[in-house]
Structures are given as C-alpha cells and as structure tokens.
C-alpha cells in the first residue's frame, strides 16, 4: 500500500506501483534490513532495482543483510539545501561498505549504503559525534521511524567494534 509521510520537512511518497521501494522500506520499518538477492547469480544489490545489475535477471528474493560496515567516503554538509536540515549542520552523508559481499563480484565492488550519521534512535548526530567519524570508521545501521511502512536507514558509530586508530578526515 502506498506510503505518504513527512520527514524533516520533506514530503516522502512511495506509490502503489513502486513495489521495490515498498518492500525495501517495509523491512526497514521493522528494523530488519533486507536487500534483493538475484535468483540467478546470487548477488545482492543496493539500492532496490527491477533487475539484477550484475546479470540482468528479473527475479530476486528479499534477503536479510547485516547492517554493519566501514565508511568508504563521506561529505560533511555545512550549507544545507533543505530547510529542516539546517538545524543539524554540519551533518554527515556517509557511504558505507557493507561487510556482506565486500569485494564481490570484483575488488572494486561493495554494497555501498548511504545514510546520515545518526544517533542510535535515528536522529541526526550532534557535532561531537560528527567529529569522530571518517573514512574507515566502523558503523552499524539504525533507523529513523517515519510512518507505518517507512523507516529511513542511517548509520551510527559501532561502539562495540574496534575502530581505526585515526579514521581519515578532511584536513582541518
């Protein structure tokens, strides 16, 4: 069923035709991250697609994936475009390599999942937390609950993991 909600001042919509996003965000709403696994080649993919980006096969199966990984790259936004993000500046946009399927099918591939740096409850992170994260930081997935059938996956520092001594950050 279609989802319509407001998140950080933005109207979010998933219409009835968008079967892939309906399924993706429904799993997120259950805080149970799933990706599509190709029924032919067996590779997972992100974000949701209507065919396999590795082999073109049409059919796939939603598969539980562990939301853990390391920051591959990031940006720290100081000038927000959307008004509701201004209160959270600087905020981080993270590209996180999942541990699952990293380096497959080639060394250049990873499931690189986007998210903001967030608190465990899914709210965007404060400055002291922003300053701790860089390329290489170990992250775990958290969710911002928006509406029934729609939670947004984000990343928070994986306090249980061994962190790199000095994650790479933009030189200050």
């Amino acid at each position: 069923m279609a989802v319509s909600a407001t998140y950080l001042g933005m109207p979010l919509e998933i219409n009835d035709l968008d079967l892939e996003n309906l399924a993706y965000f429904k799993y997120c709403a259950a805080h149970d991250f799933h990706l599509q696994r190709c029924d032919s080649c067996g590779l997972l993919r992100y974000p949701p697609t209507t065919g396999c980006p590795f082999c073109g096969h049409a059919k796939s199966t939603w598969t539980r994936v562990e939301g853990k990984g390391a920051v591959h790259s990031y940006s720290e936004v100081h000038h927000a475009i959307q008004p509701a993000f201004k209160q959270f500046t600087p905020y981080l946009i993270l590209l996180v390599d999942l541990d699952t399927q990293k380096g497959k099918p080639t060394e250049h591939h990873a499931l690189r999942v986007v998210g903001n740096l967030a608190m465990p409850d899914g709210k965007l992170a404060p400055l002291d937390m922003v300053k701790r994260v860089g390329i290489g930081s170990r992250m775990r997935m958290v969710f911002a609950d928006v509406a029934p059938g729609l939670s947004i996956p984000h990343w928070t520092i994986d306090e249980a993991a061994q962190q790199p001594a000095k994650p790479w950050r933009y030189p200050e």
């Binding site: 591959h72 946009i93 390329i135 933009y170």
Partner: protein, 419 residues
C-alpha cells in the same frame, strides 16, 4: 601544436574533420536576466547565426537540452522564422554539449538535415536554481530519490563530494592544489569582458571562503547565472562558405558512463570518473592524444571536476591531478591552458556550452578579449596575459573539451583549427 605527421587526415574513419563548428553565440551572463528562457535562447541562436555569416533560413536542424527549466526548440525556431527539418529537445545538463555535437554530426550524416544549431537557455539564477534550492527542493521525494534526497543528499556538490573526498584520501590531493583551479580560472576571467566574475581570487581566498559541504568551499563551486548559448554545426564543405576559419570536429564521445549508472558508487574506484572509460573512445576517434592538445575545456562545475577529468582523460598520471592543476600548466601562458574564458567558476554557468564556444574562438585565433582591433577588423593579440589584457593562446591548433554530468557520466570532444 601541429598534428602528428602519421595521422591520416584524409581518412573518413570516425568522420574525423568532416564536420565543423561555424557559428557560436551567447547572451550576456547575468544574475537576473529579466527575460524568459525563450528570449534568451532566441538571442543566443540569433547571435550564433550572425557569427557564422548565415541567414536563419540556412538552419534546418535544432537540438537543445534542459531539465524542465527551459523553452523547447520550436519556439526559438518560430521566433527566428526558421522552418526545421529536424529538432529534438533532450533531457540533460552537463556533458550534453559535446554529446549533442556528436548527435548533430549523425543527423547530418544520415541526411536528416544540413545545418544544426544547438542551444541551451536557462535562468539558472533567477528561475530554476542549479544549486537545487527553491522549486527543486520543494518537490516530493519519491522513487530513487528516497535513497538520496531523504538524506539531505541533493545538490550537485553534495552528490559529487563523496568522489572528491575519496580522491583526497586515495591520493593525498590537497584543498590548496584544487583551489588553484579557481584561482587560475579567475585570472582568465579577468581578461574576458563577458565574464560574470572578473575579479581575481587567490588560493587563500578559496580556502578562506565558507565551507559548503566538505571538501567544497564556496569558491570551489561555480556561479549560478542566467544565459543563453548556441553553437552551429554543418559539414566541412559548407563551412568554407561561412564567415570564420572553420573549426573541425576531430572526435566525440558522448555520455559515456561508469558501471551502475543508477548508483555509480556501487562500483569503484569512486575516485575515478567516467573519463577513464571515455578516453578510450575519444582519443582513437580523434587520432590524437593528450600530448597533442594545446588547450582544454575541462568542465568546472567545481574545482574538483576539472581536476578529476584532466587526470582520467590522461593529461597526467592517475592520482597526480592535484599537481597538474596547480603547477601552472593550465594557466594562460602555461603549456596547456584550461577554460580560458573563466569557465563555469567565473564566466557563467551554461551546462558546458560556453567552454566549447571559448575553444572555438581560440581555434579561430580570435578570442574576444580587450586587445585592440586592427585595420583588417581583427584583434591584434598581444599575448600579454596581465590583468585586463590578452587571453588568446598562441598558435592553438587542437583543443579538447571534457564535459561532466556527474562522476559516473561524461562527454568529450576534440576540435582542430581548419583551413
């Protein structure tokens, strides 16, 4: 520099030198044009027709690109009394210019029309802002945008920064090296009476400007302006009847991509851009290589885009882009000047057309700087590149334009001076 002796310039392979750019035109670059994109487009096309020495009735093909922010070709044609045998308005921003030049060649080669004008008209400051604010920011977030804009990941700078940061991480590229792109382009703009920003800035000015999204300071980002720009392409044979020395198209690559164009960050290295793939089409098509190129037009939506493309098209070794853009090579008077008009960072934002326009004028040996006009009606270029002076590069024979849509998509075109 002259073409290598072993290049077979008589061969029709890849349609080398068979088509020419014969006319270029633009409006003024402003923030607040006070007129419609229809009026801007008409103005630019009219100027390009006059520049070519043609009549409106000589134009029978029209191509344009836009992203829901401009006027379609038929209205521009109507306002100039042109009856078209072909037109198409495509969806696209950066990297469309070179791609459409290639398409124009295909159209003429297919016999669908004879002379094509390509235009881009936009009120990129006063109507639909390129930075993504205003109307664009207010639209509902759905489909693939749920995985982008929902994260405050929307503007071009925000979208591309992950590539830029990773390049710094992978190769040690520094903010100061990349800031040199803006400093150099501002020197060029100072010698361009048309440029929106003519004032010179230094590397320190860039680094001291406020942070937009790391690694981009305000002055790492291009200007948003209102303008129309146009290019006219016809066969090299017909070009002989036009007003200026024809500028021949050597080779084109259009909208070439990295893998996974739906979400290119899925396949790395993410510090490599589409030019890595495009170069293997561009240089064989053109029959020249980076070393043969005298001037470049590497798209400067951001300082980093210029750097990444020059590197991936092979103007320097992978990872050495930071050195290339800061060692003086691409300054006027250097070995291979880039964006001598000031480009998007300083002249005006056109989604790529102005960089082709500039290189056409350079290849004519007739850029519109402040040098005096002689008795023959031509500018007497001094090659004195001090502020307010000349910006003509000496003896330019070959140029390369490197167009950028995003890290995963790019186009390019090599041009040469005709006879």
């Amino acid at each position: 520099m002259p073409l290598p002796a072993d290049v077979d310039t008589t061969s029709p392979k890849y349609l080398r030198d068979k088509y020419a750019i014969v006319g270029v035109g633009e409006t003024t670059y402003t923030r607040g044009s006070g007129i419609t994109t229809r009026a801007l487009g008409t103005w630019a096309v009219r100027n390009a027709i006059a520049d070519a020495g043609l009549k409106p009735s000589d134009i029978d093909g029209m191509l344009s690109y836009q992203s829901g922010d401009s006027t379609f070709g038929p209205f521009i044609a109507g306002d100039l009394g042109i009856r078209l045998n072909f037109y198409m308005d495509v969806f696209g921003g950066g990297s469309s210019t070179e791609a459409l030049c290639g398409m124009a060649i295909g159209l003429i080669e297919a016999g669908m029309c004879k002379t094509v004008v390509i235009f881009r008209a936009m009120n990129g400051f006063s109507q639909v802002r390129i930075g993504g604010t205003g109307a664009r920011a207010a639209a509902p977030v759905q489909g693939d945008m749920l995985h982008g804009r929902a994260y405050g990941w929307q503007s071009a700078g925000q979208m591309f920064s992950l590539s830029f940061m990773r390049h710094m991480h992978d190769y040690g590229t520094t903010p100061a090296q990349v800031a040199a792109v803006k400093a150099i382009h501002s020197e060029h703009a100072g010698n361009n009476p048309k440029a929106y920003y003519k004032e010179r800035v230094t590397v320190e000015d860039v680094l001291n400007s406020r942070m937009i999204c790391k690694p981009l300071h305000l002055l790492d980002c291009c200007v948003e302006t209102d303008n129309g720009t146009a290019i006219i392409i016809t066969s090299a044979d017909r070009a002989k009847d036009c007003k200026h020395t024809p500028v021949l198209i050597r080779g084109v690559v259009g909208r070439c991509n990295k893998p996974r164009m739906d979400m290119h960050y899925q396949c790395g290295p993410i510090s490599t851009v589409a030019g890595h793939y495009a170069k293997d089409i561009l240089w064989p098509n053109a029959g020249v290589g980076p070393e043969d190129v005298d001037i470049t037009g590497s798209y400067d939506a951001f300082t980093f885009t210029t750097m990444l493309q020059l590197e991936d098209y092979g103007f320097c070794k992978k990872g050495e882009g930071g050195y290339y853009v800061s060692d003086g090579t691409m300054r006027l008077g250097g070995r291979r000047p880039n964006n001598t008009s000031g480009g998007h960072l300083c002249e005006g934002y056109t989604h790529g057309v102005n960089m082709v326009v500039e290189n056409v004028r350079q290849l004519r040996h007739d850029v519109d700087d402040s040098c005096p006009i002689g008795p023959d009606g031509k500018r007497q270029h001094t090659y004195d590149y001090r502020p307010g002076g000349c910006r003509q590069v000496k003896n330019v024979e070959v140029s390369a334009n490197l167009g950028w849509a995003m890290p995963g998509t790019g186009s390019a075109m090599v041009m040469r001076r005709g006879a």
